[in-house]
Symmetry: C2
Subunit: 188 residues, 2 copies
Amino acid sequence: MSRWEPNARGRLEQAALELYRERGFDQITVTEIAERAGLTERTFFRYFADKREMLFSGQDRLRELYVRAIAAAPETASPIEMVAAALEAAVPVFRERHEFARQRQAVIDATPGLQERELLKRAALASAMVEALRRRGVPDPAASLAADVGVIAFKNAFARWVRAPDEQDLAHLIREVLDQLKVMIVGE
Amino acid sequence: MSRWEPNARGRLEQAALELYRERGFDQITVTEIAERAGLTERTFFRYFADKREMLFSGQDRLRELYVRAIAAAPETASPIEMVAAALEAAVPVFRERHEFARQRQAVIDATPGLQERELLKRAALASAMVEALRRRGVPDPAASLAADVGVIAFKNAFARWVRAPDEQDLAHLIREVLDQLKVMIVGE
């Protein structure tokens, strides 16, 4: 078997999601995932630390995109505009991944241990945004509040996007949620 | 030894916090906590499920107060006003507990496993508020967004309150954070 397998990462992810949905996340081993994908365990571990981290491997990329977008935001941007720019910069990561995201979310929603992990990852993304905002000279409490608003905007937009039958534009949903937050908080 | 011990709950909590700060949360057993408090393990388990839940035992009371305040909010209240009423209804729980809250937060901030627990409890409080808002006829997405805003308002206000050297009024800090959110989101 050649060491390079075409689209090994995608095949492993797809095999894992199929198995989790058939028998539940907790029941499945890495051996079974590799087997279903027609690959070896060794190949699995070349891409992922374990079966749980596999589901969250995109988070490092998200953090990187958030931090970079905040660093690159115009001088005149308000903290919330910097955060909105960060969220929108991450949208391309999800392009063509709607079906994957939907299946992944169904597994998380069915598995308490994964929901914990999701909360932790979300908190880590918020912290990364706070740090990036501080480096742009945004003082506290504005930095923390803007990052928290960003996290709930993304969470709510993503939940709508995942549930939508047709692939809606995630960037549009993010702006929609930010607008709804504005209306709600201002009270009109 | 009599079965009733004066202020057993408070003595156990104080003993636990002292021990956690001396040697770290993970190092301490329930036996040691009971011993330091001059009580038995049996008494400990009359009040708390385990040493972790001990630190979060106030959350059930918070949820109850949140849910009740949302149920009792005036007909004319907006979703965000219902949530603000919920947060303020919980303020008396923390009265006279500033030093306890400060020490408890220091233990949580030093213990990753407790931070996870805190995130989960916070998510559970948000869900309880969403349910209570829906029962008041608030549709989604307003119910989810209002609950999420409430959670970040409380989180930020509580963090300031705990760090404040003098005991500031928590209700005042909650309103301050909600005002800051308004200014931030509306952008002037």
